[in-house]
């Protein structure tokens, strides 16, 4: 059975991806069996090109995707350069870790609450600084170029990237690298950028590309913060898909395929940018000049990331306050009173959404974790060079969904499922979730598995334990922490899924995420706040348990738990 694990897992990911890509490509060229399309044609593409605002939709997607990723990466790297070795780094790690649990939609709702004309920032500055007695008539949220959307994406991705960097940083031995660079005459900030950053970036490249791929094709953040007319491409595709005129589905397919091309173009642009920076950087590295990265940049690095992290924290706390707020007139920074009315009214619906969310997320996380463990365990038991090459190929496949824009994939999966007579619903949603959860689970577990001392396994065997017994009684208990972390990450990723839940469930599978996004465009802010909080609570509880359980289980084992 274990021998089949790599094939089963590969099929679990490759199957839906293949069906999805096929299901989006065929209709994009007019081939849609259900709608009588039986001849290949470019007509959907011509109709797509005739859609008003298409160029702007593509431009906004590219601009927001590349812009938010660039800002997030710069904030993280400049912060690490400026704060390495200071106490600020430890504080930020602690502040940012819980923010990782905040789903995209909740973060976007929080940012909207912060920066809207009637939002917290405007209230704090009014009327003493701005003179505003009523919310100004400014288009801040939903602005035409997606600046608010970029802010939301940056706020959400900075914690993720910072934690990914911190996870791999120790393996670079930054203290020693810094000491050498400084002894060669570089000031600390420059020394970090010259001696640590070039080693760090390759290790976090996959997460960076995942961030870029998400940002270019996000639908939920775009719906909450992005421009509306024309919207970013992913949202435009959603609109065409929902059009009562069924022939618009062909246009939507072409649009979804265009989204794939846009995402690939963004990744190609990023890749080219990497080459340019590397080329310029080599000159800078060997140029010997110490002071190029000046004091101003270093202050920017020191202040930028903490400002973003604090903003998101305030935004989430603000959501909590607003969901409890009584009357809250405009320039007031705090509501007149607190009331449970909103919660009392929304709780029955929220509870229903939470139940669906939890069930889906728990199943997806467990399935993905079991599949990943089986793959890693199978690989660990065989050490052949040929197997290792196959293993790398398998990992590449399993990581693919990180880079895959959700729109075309999910869209094609719906079409493909309908073609073979599978109705959208909970089962299909679960498949979609597993595909997107699995790479994150692998991301969490691969490194602990690789670093696991093989002598534990040899020891188990020489003491007479079979490979299966060694797995259950030695490897799993020692890796309890990483396994629970993988489950928690899987839970969080599943809870955050908007597009797969919406489309694969045909709108009938309502999770807290789909509900929060639906309410965000137009609903009462206090109700939205309650839903977004409920959405953030599930992953937060998961992460808390993943931290707490190993400590409880190993509270009497100093060699485990406490040390991690």
């Amino acid at each position: 059975m274990l021998r089949l694990a790599p094939y089963l897992t590969a099929g679990l990911v490759a199957g839906p991806i293949a069906v999805g890509l096929l299901g989006v490509t065929l209709p994009a060229f007019g081939l849609l069996p259900g709608l009588g399309g039986d001849m290949a044609t470019l007509a959907p593409w011509f109709r797509l090109l005739d859609q008003p605002g298409l160029g702007r939709s593509v431009a906004v997607a590219l601009f927001a995707g590349l812009g938010s990723t660039l800002i997030a990466v710069l904030l993280v790297f400049l912060f690490l350069a400026a704060a390495d070795g200071t106490r600020l780094l430890g504080w930020m790690r602690r502040l940012v870790a819980p923010l990782l649990a905040v789903p995209h939609a909740a973060a976007a709702v929080g940012v909207a609450f912060l920066i809207a004309p009637s939002g917290l920032l405007a209230r704090l500055a009014s009327p003493w600084a701005t003179g505003w007695q009523r919310p100004p008539d400014l288009l801040i949220v939903h602005d035409g170029w997606g600046l608010a959307m970029i802010a939301g994406l940056v706020a959400k991705e900075v914690p993720f990237l910072l934690l990914m960097c911190l996870a791999v940083l120790p393996s670079l031995d930054p203290t020693r690298r810094l000491a050498i660079a400084r002894s060669l005459g570089q000031p600390p900030f420059t020394a970090w950028l010259k001696a640590v950053a070039p080693g760090l970036y390759p290790l976090v490249r996959l997460p960076v590309f995942a961030v870029l791929a998400f940002a270019c094709s996000t639908a939920d953040v775009a719906l909450i913060l992005g421009p509306t007319n024309p919207p970013p491409l992913a949202v435009a595709v959603l609109r065409w898909f929902a059009d009562p005129d069924l022939s618009m589905r062909l246009v939507a397919s072409a649009g979804a395929l265009l989204q794939l091309l846009v995402s690939l173009a963004a990744m190609a642009a990023w890749w080219a940018g990497e080459r340019v920076v590397a080329g310029l950087g080599r000159g800078w590295l060997t140029g010997g000049a110490p002071g190029v990265a000046g004091r101003a940049v270093s202050w920017l690095g020191l202040a930028g990331l903490p400002a973003v992290a604090m903003s998101l924290t305030v935004a989430i706390l603000g959501l909590a306050v607003s969901s409890l707020a009584g009357p809250w007139r405009f320039p007031d920074a705090l509501p007149d009173g607190l009331t449970l009315a909103v919660w009392a009214r929304s709780l029955p619906a929220i509870a229903g959404g939470l139940a669906t969310t939890l069930l889906l997320a728990a199943l997806a996380a467990v399935l993905a974790t079991v599949a990943v463990l089986a793959v890693l365990e199978q690989a660990a038991r065989r050490g052949r060079a040929a197997d290792r090459a196959a293993g790398r190929a398998l990992h590449g496949l399993l990581y693919l969904p990180l880079l895959l824009p959700q729109v075309p994939f999910v869209f094609g999966l719906v079409v493909g499922a309908e073609t073979v007579g599978l109705a959208p619903g909970h089962g299909l949603v679960l498949v979609g979730h597993v595909v997107f959860v699995l790479p994150y689970v692998l991301l969490v577990l691969a490194e602990p598995y690789r670093r696991f001392d093989p002598r534990w396994i040899m020891l188990g065997a020489t003491l007479g334990a079979s490979p299966a017994r060694t797995f259950w009684t030695v490897r799993l208990p020692i890796l309890l922490g990483p396994c629970l972390a993988a489950l928690a990450v899987g839970l969080a990723v599943s809870v955050g899924q908007y597009l797969p839940t919406l489309l694969l469930g045909a709108g009938r599978v309502e999770t807290v995420t789909t509900a929060a996004v639906a309410l965000a465009s137009g609903g009462d802010r206090r109700v939205v706040g309650a839903w977004a909080l409920a959405q953030a609570a599930v992953p937060a509880a998961g992460f808390a348990l993943a931290l707490l359980l190993p400590r409880l289980a190993w509270r009497r084992r100093r060699g485990l738990g406490a040390a991690r």
């Binding site: 050490g383 065997a461 003491l463 009684t473």
Partner: protein, 225 residues
């Protein structure tokens, strides 16, 4: 306890057609065969082969016989060849007693003690008593001193009832004061149990005080790692 006999029958280990190690020896009950050589001479590879963990990149010839039985093709867990590493490697998630119970076979329950668990636990406690660690069964292994850990690791090995023992520089991480003490204890216990042992080391001081056969391995070619 009756003794066991380990026969290394014309063993050769090669990597890419280059022979790394060739050895032919018999280790009788309680005897120690010392394999010496600098790092890179194939000592660890030889040990991995005997234990059943040879990396598939290597090719090996010859047979490993235990009490006349060919175990060459068997998986590690079915060979009953015990292994002591440089580090004691006590399972961090188990108590000291749990570590000792891990490898103890479930058989030979005497008639006067009905539940088998009772017998295993008694033997575990007796094993702790033998090395001066009475009452340590429930302790967290991380709280033991280096010498105590080494003794627990040794007892865990013996309780798993191996038929032969491999020692991979087992004393090199101990400080000088402990080293002689642990070494003498290990070899005395192996001799009492009638176990043949293969010791791999680069340090002649690791050998048992009463000697035993020594084989020197040389690095096969200057450019190999």
């Amino acid at each position: 306890m009756t003794g066991h006999r380990l026969r290394l029958d014309r063993l050769t280990i090669a990597l890419g057609g280059v022979t790394l190690a060739a050895i032919d020896a018999t280790v009788g009950p309680g005897e120690v065969l010392t394999v010496m050589g600098p790092s890179g001479s194939g000592k660890s590879t030889l040990l991995a082969f005997l234990a059943g963990f040879l990396d598939p990149a290597f090719s090996a010839g010859g047979r490993v016989l235990l009490d006349g039985e060919d175990v060459t093709g068997r998986p590690a867990e079915a060979r009953r060849i015990g292994l002591l590493f440089q580090d004691p490697l006590l399972f961090p998630h188990l108590s000291v007693g749990g570590n000792l119970l891990f490898g103890m076979p479930r058989h030979r329950a005497p008639r006067n003690c009905a539940p088998r668990e009772c017998d295993r636990r008694d033997r575990m406690r007796a094993a702790l008593r033998e090395v001066g660690l009475e009452g340590y069964a429930d302790r967290d292994p991380a709280t033991l001193s280096g010498g105590q850990k080494a003794r627990v690791a040794l007892q865990r090995l013996l309780l798993s009832e191996p038929r032969a023992v491999l020692l991979d520089e087992p004393f090199s991480r101990l400080d000088a004061a402990l080293r002689g003490e642990v070494r003498d204890l290990v070899f005395a216990r192996l001799r009492d149990a009638g176990l043949p042992a293969v010791l791999v080391t680069h340090d002649a001081a690791d050998r048992p005080a009463d000697g035993g056969e020594v084989v020197h391995l040389c690095p096969p070619a200057p450019h190999l790692p």
